[in-house]
Symmetry: D2
Subunit: 404 residues, 4 copies
């Protein structure tokens, strides 16, 4: 077994010549920056270089992101009632504390109801025809050929199922929305490969020939907040709600259900006036921290952090809170989920591997519900500025006068 | 110096009783999950526990995310021409390879022009009045009192500057948009603290008393994609463009400028029909990877991944490409930027510390431009599915027939 | 035959005591304003009072709106090729002249291709349940009960057909999208009555009882621009395109295909940055004028004036132009279409009465295409300001230097 | 004085050879359609042909639209308290009845508060530069040259005032937002002419020469619903609110404040999920009917029918309702306002001519408020379907069981 030393100093820099670590070491020779190298390309980063082979190119090491734990968060889900401890990876002070507080309030209220009410991931190629009339003929052929497409799917993927094929015409362009379920994978690559195969078949068999085509032309909403998803779904549409008895709101959140509802109005219409996709306090923080910890694609926060929070006063003076997330795109197999950190965090949740993607989506919704309750509570009690001030400076947090 | 051992086994588990590591160890005793503990709470995570004290609560360790290097990317920026090597943290196969390709094409074309054309971060409290008429009186008072507010700012922050104060009335609600520049910090906390101080003064001095108020009511667009930003700014508005000579497009991207423009039409209108905020191929991937590597708040991808890509054919048959990012919210001081990983990645860029935030924003725009060129090139040449297939399976990537 | 005189003067004020005109005359007695009365409640307005009985309440007379004629506009439609003369009701100077010019260019290019590619009008009631879990049960029951609903439809309407029933859940709220085809009627009332009947049945039979419900809760997009329609349909989705040979562009529009494409980029991205629904030059003018002339509901301009214009340079240097209107909501029976003015205008088009709604929708798209070509041509040649200046002042219009 | 007869029959067809009526008669000779001619080109249409000369081209006659009267509507406006009778032109059954009911409820509650809180109409040319860097230089020059532009304005218009000049850069394109107040005119033409003059000066004087430019490039939001307006203004931003005591809600609207608030939630979030611009029940109907009656540009409904309705329960159990209309674009001089019908309707309102545009905008907001209260009341009481059914069939309307 041949080895070699890169750099001048430490024994722990010995790596195999044909290894990913060797390649990384060579890159560092070119980059210089000895101190950065020491930090990013430390021993664990060298030792795990092979592990990341299929998840990164031009590897130069790893970064570390701190993880905090929030909860327990009780979820009354589709299958059972479970208490989750949430691993949240972030460097934003007060984030974990806030989600922890929200989770505790929910759990003390008996847990939140969570359901996945829809599922589907699209790939949307576009075919360019000569004119509007020809495009109609092409779309008609596609509509008629869906059985053929259906038959093709199992030859490409074990886990993907074709749900629907929908043509959307714009001028002489025909977009085709191929929608799949993707099992326990987030599924973006899966739908790419299957759709590519279907398109090759279309091009071979369609009597109407497109002038040109593209495998994806942005109608799918991939990694972009899109209005179309709000009443539909991309990934999983997940909904969570809870009723918080008045004493929990006053005792733990230091405000009242009425004030929380007043905030909701203000925040919802503030969002509407700024032109956001959906109305909400803040889905991005919790989703980013959970996605990052659990090996999900954190770029998907761009699409997942859309949806609707609703707060209403019940007849009994309690606070009803719901969150609707139309676009939770998570998996428990594939992508980054098998990498060491992600696997550890999924283990903590009890959701590693097959059969767990829907439950992970439920956890995302429950976490977002916790975050909404806590942050809106903080705005109502006047704690928001003070909590951020204290926690980001390491001081003890003192709640002061509320916002009234 | 008192120490104690948590758990049964290893000497490397010795931590001080009053330390952050000790607290984390106690959490693990409760959590169980020995294997997860071994991964998340390894020696470096224990040793660096104190480091993260002001960035995380309920610390239980760290996750590792692999980093790849892309570039060099030549940027003809406001101040100088510089070649950057981009550290990108991701677990998505093909991402680094794609940005690397885009960066190389840009650099071979002489680099991209990048400019920051606007700057400002808002905090937007809402004040509830009795009725429309009273709300007008309150807003008028605010308009008249801006000098007082201006005077208050330097007493709270050294780096923040109040740019403007704008009242937006909805019914009997008055939202006030306090807009600041925040120096080299991303600035969300800074604007929170200053606005809180200003609001306390408003409440004390305004002759028209609000019934209630909230420090932030969602008009700012904080961590949400918002339409209002497209023609405005949140953080920094950064614009990059480049002209790619035809031979670069055909030789490196294996397609033509005409086909790239055709894709642009398809993708732009696909985005429009799906109701996205702006039109683009894909800003989220590169921004998420760069933000994560450089200690930026990755939840901000929800807002930053909006904007506009434009591709046009020049009279000479070359390809003009521009990206407009109205909402790059980055800093080189504060937040997570001082943590070890982030500091290392910023060092690699040569952009750690004061005086570098605008340049970091330029790098973001340049990277996004590289990503757009490469991914749209891949859709045009037919490489997209194949590249993802190969790289996510560790195989050698073979470009095959293009999409024509 | 009993009559009476209202007011002191003219013989033409004799109206029957039990007539609509009598009621109107009484209203004028209360209103006063003799001059306004003379204008609005002139002889034709008195004589036609009965005619409007089912289209207006508290009738006080009629207003007159001038109509201009544009065309011929050649449409290569689904069924045949036809030349239309378009009646346009407006008081905006230059509008008819501009559409006339666009229509002539299209006709000289051989006419435009137009197709209706989708059809459907929704009514979307909302049912409030106790919690998320109960809402899922309710929605599941709805999904299972669609056959029963289907059976109910013919008992309420002869012309409406139920296309689909789709549940959209938000928190503990279930919106149900009942989508119908409505024959030759615009159909908003038809879908209201049928949906009401279906909902009564749901309330009677569902084992899960809603706490409360509303017959329409805004998911339908009724009379509001909505992003969801862009890739879908409300009313009819109609698409028109044409290729304009270069000599027509230079000779008639006094500009070049290249400049038109450059305008398209500018206008499309201007629209995107302002947050419009779709991208276009200007659908509202032509639709409003045509709707108004033809007895359509002009308030529907709020929803219909959305969609997409696309302009591309062809390989031969000609100009490809298409318009996609997802939301043309017109009828040739019912509503105001039977009233005298509307009937006359529909007669002019040859589209009065049954069997003509789809063709009328095609005319709308063709007219909008004409408008886009003409207005964008005017912006490109520099004629826009001058045409408006001249025509609104009665002067002869002189084209001057273009915008280059 | 030479005259001639067109057609075979009636003396009333005698028109002057050089008259607008003569031209119209000639058009009818070509069109044929005797019955349509009789209806559209009746004696008043012939006699008033000259009147419309500057408002229409290719004149062929007039259409009649029935007008109903609603109110009185009490408005506590900026200047005084006034009771208005609203002329509403429509052919939609139940519309006038519904607005009438809403107006009466408001008036019985003491009237609504209405304020204009902002004003401005933009024209937004676009200048194309070579690259991003050159575009920055051009924009900087524009920023510095605003005094020169300011000086130019009075030479072109007596009534327009330049409020602000704002550059918005996208790639190498610079959009310039010229914002004006336009006195008592709606002002679209006024801002066109002034902006044209300013642009000519820019082109002559700017040291940085654009490659090409367009006088308007869609950033203004002209006749399109745009998200940017929601927190801003186009035309006038007008706000109205009222508190409805519980007995009025139960007695007149046959529902409760609580149910109205529940509807508001349902409708607001239904709107959000469908991707509307703002959240509201239905602004389009009332605005279209009022615009049409009063000679406003009814195509502007496309932009004006956006905004926000809010309903909240007060501590006393009454119903707070507000409407915010950011985009009321009306005038009392110019455009169609001087034409006979419009003048009559403006006279009825007491708002014809100079000094009345702001008050007319207030009436628009008050009318919309009335409409929202009535239609939402109808959805809550279960009256909606029945009212439309009865009134569109001429039957007596019977309220039946409510929606509970």
């Amino acid at each position: 077994m041949k080895t070699m030393t890169i750099g001048q100093t430490a024994d722990d820099r010995v790596v195999r010549r044909d290894s990913a670590a060797f390649d990384a070491a060579k890159r560092w020779q070119e980059l210089g920056h000895e101190r950065a190298r020491a930090r990013l390309f430390d021993r664990p980063a060298r030792e795990s270089a092979e592990v990341y082979r299929n998840n990164i190119e031009n590897y130069i090491g790893t970064i570390a992101v701190p993880v905090g734990i929030a909860g327990p968060l009780r979820i009354n889900g589709t299958d059972d009632v479970r208490d989750y401890r949430l691993p949240l990876a972030t460097t934003e002070a007060a984030l974990v504390a806030s989600y922890n507080r929200g989770a505790n309030v929910i759990t003390r209220a008996g847990g939140c109801n969570v359901r996945v009410v829809g599922e589907g991931v699209s790939r949307t190629p576009m075919f360019a025809l000569v004119d509007v009339a020809e495009a109609v003929r092409f779309a008609d052929w596609i509509d008629a050929a869906s059985a053929t497409m259906q038959a093709l799917v199992p030859t490409v993927t074990k886990h993907g199922r074709l749900q629907s094929v929908t043509c959307v015409q714009e001028g002489n362009h025909v977009y085709v929305d191929f929608r799949f379920t993707t099992g326990d994978a987030a599924g973006q690559n899966m739908v790419t490969f299957v759709t590519d195969a279907i398109c090759q078949r279309i091009l071979a068999e369609s009597p109407v020939k497109p002038r040109y085509w593209f495998l994806e032309a942005n109608l799918s909403g991939d990694k972009k907040a899109s209005a179309q998803t709000l009443a539909g779904v991309r990934g999983r549409r997940v909904i969570a709600d809870v009723v918080l008895p008045r004493p929990l709101v006053t005792g733990v959140l230091h405000t009242t259900p009425e004030r929380m509802v007043e905030y909701w109005y203000a925040g919802a219409l503030g969002g509407v006036m700024s032109g956001t996709t959906g109305v909400q306090g803040h889905f991005a923080n919790g989703l980013a921290a959970l996605y990052l910890a659990c090996g999900q694609d954190v770029a998907c926060v761009a699409e997942s952090a859309t949806g609707i929070t609703r707060m209403e006063l019940t007849d009994e003076g309690a606070l009803y809170v719901s969150v609707t997330l139309p676009n939770v795109i998570v998996g428990t197999v594939g992508g980054g989920t098998g990498l060491p950190s992600a696997r550890a965090c999924l283990d903590l949740l009890g959701l590693a591997g097959k059969g767990n993607a829907a439950a992970l989506a439920e956890v995302c919704a429950g976490a977002v519900l916790a975050g909404e309750i806590s942050i809106i509570g903080a705005f109502c009690s006047g704690d928001f500025a003070r909590a951020h001030h204290s926690l980001s400076r390491g001081a003890t947090f003192q709640r002061s006068q509320n916002s009234e």
